[in-house]
Amino acid sequence: MDIEHLRIGIDIGGTFTDLVSIDESGLICTAKTLSTPEDPSLGVMTGLELLAKKSTQSLSSLLKKTTLLIHGTTVATNLLVERKGAKLAMISTEGFRDILELREGTKANRYNLRTPFPQPLIPRPMRHTIKERVGWSGLIKESLNLAELETALKELRQHNVEGLVVCFLHSHRNPSHEIEVRKLVKELGWKVFVSLSHEVLSREGEYDRASTATVNAYVGPGLQGYLSKLERRLEKSGLNIPLLVMQSTGGVLPILEAGQLAGGSINSGPAGGAMAAGMFSAMSEIPLAVSYDMGGTSTDICLIKGSVPLERHTTEFEDVKIAVPTLDISALGAGGGSIAHLDRGGILDLGPSSAGADPGPACYGKGGLEPTLTDANLILGYISTETFLGGELSLSIEDAQNAIQERISKPLNLAPELAAIAINALASSRIAEGIRAATVRRGLDPRDFSLFAFGGASGLHAEAVINELSIPRAIIPREASVLSAIGFLSTDVRRDYHRSVGRPISDLDANELRSVFTELEAEAKNNLEAQGFDSENMKLVHSLDCRYARQVYTVNVRAYPSDFECDELNWLTAEFETTYKNLFQHIHDTEPGFIDTCNLTIFGTLPRLALPKHEIGDLDPGKAQKGERNIFISEWLSARVYWFEELSHGMRVQGPAVIDSPTTSVLISPDGVAEVDAYGSLHLYSNL
């Protein structure tokens, strides 16, 4: 088999490291290995060895043929979640030492007033202020006091600081003072990770910039260290192309920039899945899709419009705000490991607490006593004791039954299978409500969508979810288990540039606006040229964040190159009003729109991933059947069992049936029907 021009995607998850390679002919090869949290690059190397072995070649020959290697890692996420990031210090404007600690006066979980106060990532003694002042228009009102700055830097240097955050007021208008700090740090010969707020986020709002720059510096040194270690290992093993790193935006960056903009990879894991759903939407020409990825502890939901996942401006990560664009993925606390319990009033509920991997669901037999969704699905016969996780883990029905019996059945006076079906149905209902909320919030109707279901636990709920929302079909990609890694291969290099404007549209002439974007374009193109992209492989997306002057929230208005040829800005007012009206059903026609920020996104296009399309064959799935199994729906009945891997293109499965694979199971009710499409994905149809 010839595998020149190989592309490899690597996704390090909490439990498994997934690898996928694809050659020019579209042939996919996958590998899965346990993650190695203490040094994740070890797991990557093991996975690559495995991938090489599968294609009967040496690791170095595999890597030499590799033309693209995209890597997604939870290193940054874990540093933040476990609060194990770098030791930080901060320099800010005199009078504003506590930007981080004041948190704009907010609190998560507002009704519980006894939760501990979350100390910011930079403790107060490490936050120094300096005399300087930039005015709101960018005018320097008081120059930077260099003597004070030097004293502060020397003092902070005594404390083994690994990351320095600089956030001066209005630096998005005039960054010169922030830049001077970096200059002085260099002059002093201090090798510290520097995060300037205007570079991380060039937008109004000192808390957003300070918080985002802080997260960036907190995870930056750790991520850089890890990436350079991985790069060295890969180079030694024969890789001679630059490594690309997956970002929360669904784009990728080379490792140098990925390290500098480390905060941008915090949500990169779920982004891979959303990008894959985008790719499948494009292949099947689906205009509106919603993806849901159900794992052990949570379900990630993302909307995909015209095969592009939708985005948002800010992310609240526990008590930390990250204000850079990311794919708009919302997480719901319901997964396979979610614990079913009776609340204090005696009503059945599911999650948000989870049994995690250890002890895991009761049926893992590792000492878990709490009944989980997985236990319920096992009792119902939806999961097979033999094939779960490829048969690597033997499941105990007895332990599952005991847990459900003790905690749910007895107090509710219900037979175990009825308790189990209640837990299963509650999960489906919660996912459906989560999807409804995600669509409705955008002013969209769930009935216009197709559902992509992936992740271990999703196939058992897909049919119930589409029935509940009147969604016509659910699509379960065959590669569901390594979908994020595939998603990595359907990305482009991406960078986002912003320039704050802060003026009413009526105040600006077309030339001024044009020159803002011209500058952004030059900066963006230079960057990609340096990475070896020529202009044919660059794609630019222009947009403006607009609002009315008195408002806080902005709406994103898309702009096109031809718009900038106009001598007037009427097009912008019209576009703003149209966008605003679509979202909010009204406009304020006596008030001019207000331009907050100009945004430019540049894509360095990477070759498209094309999965092979197959001839549609025989309808009869008989060949793929592996016996029967008893399942409980409203009563016990016998269902045909099929192997996903042996269901070939065009086969049609009539319920009641279960389709098993080493990583997932799909339930088809007596009324349901499923078909395999030309790409090998399973389409489930709603019976409504």
Binding site: E104, G205, E206, R344, A425, L426, P504, Y553
Partner: protein
């Protein structure tokens, strides 16, 4: 009664919550005024046929317990005269409302020729007429001074919207377009809710859903009884004070007697003083809602709260008193000012039996606005002071949060950025930092207040109007903890220091004036001598407290 399917109950409860979320989502997407689309000062609930709250979206705590009163008043006003498609409206405190800016729209949900549910949405309108813009008038002496009263009316009859009524309401406010947009947004939102509930009725039938409603309320009651059983039965007293009554009297007590049984609690406010002439009176709906909020804060689990929980809480008041005012008493301050003090009085009474659950006093609300001629775009403006809301009270296990603010709506809306303030108004913020030594000392320390220094840099004089609390009465300490500090606002003008009172109105602000706001902190909990030495050292190192306070109050020594 036939047994209810536990699955239906579990699913329906989640669905009702999802419907309330969709209702508030619709509202945020469609409303007009900044108070609503930015501050989100609105709440939605679903009630059963008897006007008992089954589900509410997590928004403004004090709206939750108050809305049943409004819906009950609507029911009795339209008894036997309601039709499918009707939507009712009211804001009148003397017809089940709280204060006039809070306008409630409620829609009965019909199925099989009977009302099965109500969907209600209460939104704080930017203006409702009356003496001063925005509705907070310390000078009001009668309810009519405070704005337009809307007793229960049919705003939509059998699906037909009353345009004449809408016009009449809007023209009685200072921002008629905003009011129109906001009310129509409310209407769209309750209609979405009603539609979703009708779908649920189609699917499960009215009998099954009625059983679910009962099940949900019973569960709320069970959870609250379970909570009460953890506390020692007995009779307990609590009192907290309002700064003044706006008519020369200071330290106005709100006191209650809490009779705590194993499965019932009675909160008796009979001893409270008579209603006063200014706007700090609380109508009954607001008082009951405040008591419910207090017990919600005291609970271990906020999620199980619904009106079933409040079934075990009896509130006794005396008509004509400050906590059960009658016509024509003005009431606009009830939600923020007296509401906070009512909550505090209950928490104070519960200090002994619920010592693990209570928190010390929080900073009160001291708001002001600056009105001037030219903002950065040359237009007249009203700037609202929304930052620096003060510290939260400590509890037995944790220090209070710094800069969290008032107990009636803690951590509500994000404060605007300094950069936005400076870019939009002729104002320059010179400092916004924590206030050292402000937190009430204790084994757990009160949250810190802050210092916010604002320089007026306009070219012509501007006007400042204040309305607030917390200058006389300090946030109280509990269980041996010390009080926090009060608000202290002043104006610095050429070396002169002018102190600013909580109801100072029409104060002239000159170019170059520096308004310095030291906000109140939270009270402490427990004896400061018992505070962990490492925490005291940390507090000194972090400059939360000075070395002097560490030695003098905490006896850190060395």
């Amino acid at each position: 009664m036939e047994q209810l399917n536990p699955l239906t109950l579990a699913v329906v409860r989640h669905k009702l919550l999802a419907v309330t979320e969709e209702v508030v989502d619709t509202m945020s997407r469609t409303c007009f005024s900044p108070l609503l689309n930015q501050s989100r000062d609105f709440s939605a609930v679903i009630l059963d046929a008897e006007a008992r709250v089954l589900a509410q979206a997590e928004r403004v705590p004090i709206h939750m317990g108050a809305m049943p009163f409004a819906v009950e008043a609507m029911q009795s006003a339209f008894s036997g005269n309601l039709h499918d498609g009707d939507v009712l409206m009211a804001n009148d405190p003397y017809y089940g409302g709280s204060h006039l800016p809070d306008v409630t729209l409620a829609m009965p949900v019909w199925f099989s020729n009977q009302i099965c549910f109500w969907v209600a949405l209460r939104a704080h309108q930017g203006d409702i007429g009356g003496m001063s813009a925005g509705g907070y008038s310390p000078g009001a002496r009668e309810i009519w001074h405070e704005g337009l009263r809307i007793p229960p009316i049919a705003f939509v009859e059998k699906g037909q919207q009353r345009e004449d009524v809408l016009r009449m309401i809007c023209e009685n406010t200072r921002k008629p377009d905003d009011t129109r947009g906001d009310i129509l947004a409310q209407l769209a939102a309750v209609r979405i809710g009603a539609k979703r509930l009708q779908d649920l009725l189609q699917r499960y039938g009215e009998d099954e859903l009625a059983k679910c409603a009962k099940g949900i309320l019973d569960a709320g009651e069970t959870a609250m009884r379970d909570q009460l059983a953890r506390w020692k039965s007995g009779t307990y007293h609590g009192v907290s004070y309002l700064d003044h009554d706006g008519c020369g009297n200071t330290r106005i007590p709100i006191s209650c007697k809490v009779q705590l049984g194993d499965d019932q609690v009675t909160v008796d406010f009979t001893d409270c003083p008579d209603q006063v002439r200014s706007f700090i009176n609380s109508p009954i709906a607001n008082t009951v809602a405040s008591v419910n909020v207090a017990f919600m804060y005291l609970s271990d689990d906020q999620q199980t709260q619904n009106q079933g929980s409040s079934r075990v809480i009896n509130v006794i008041t005396r008509k004509g008193s400050i906590v059960d005012s009658v016509m024509p008493a003005p009431v606009t301050g009830c939600t923020t000012l007296s509401g906070s003090v009512i909550i505090e009085s209950v928490l104070r009474a519960m200090e002994e039996p619920a010592s693990e659950h209570v928190m010390a006093g929080f900073a009160r609300r001291f708001r002001f606005v600056i009105a001037g001629k030219e903002d950065r775009n040359g237009n007249p403006y009203i700037w609202h002071y929304f930052s620096n809301r003060g510290g939260a009270g400590a509890n037995k296990n944790e220090d209070g949060w710094s800069n969290l603010g008032v107990i009636h709506n803690p951590g509500g809306t994000p404060s605007p950025s300094v950069e936005r303030t400076e870019a939009s108004f002729p104002l320059q913020v010179e400092q916004y930092e924590l206030r050292t030594d402000s937190g009430g000392p204790g084994k757990s320390r009160g949250g810190l207040g802050g210092t916010y220094a604002l320089r007026y840099i306009g070219e012509t004089p501007a006007v400042l109007n204040a309305a607030g609390e917390g200058v006389e009465v300090a946030p109280y300490g509990i269980l041996g903890g010390y009080d926090g500090v009060t608000h202290n606002y002043s104006i610095q003008r050429e070396g002169e220091l002018i102190s600013l009172g909580t109801s100072d109105n029409e104060v002239e602000i000159l170019p170059g004036d520096l308004i310095v706001c030291h906000s109140a902190s939270g009270g402490g909990c427990g004896n400061p001598n018992e505070r962990d030495k490492d925490l005291i050292r940390r507090d000194v190192e972090f400059e939360y407290i000075s070395k002097e306070v560490a030695d003098r109050i905490y006896h850190l020594g060395e």
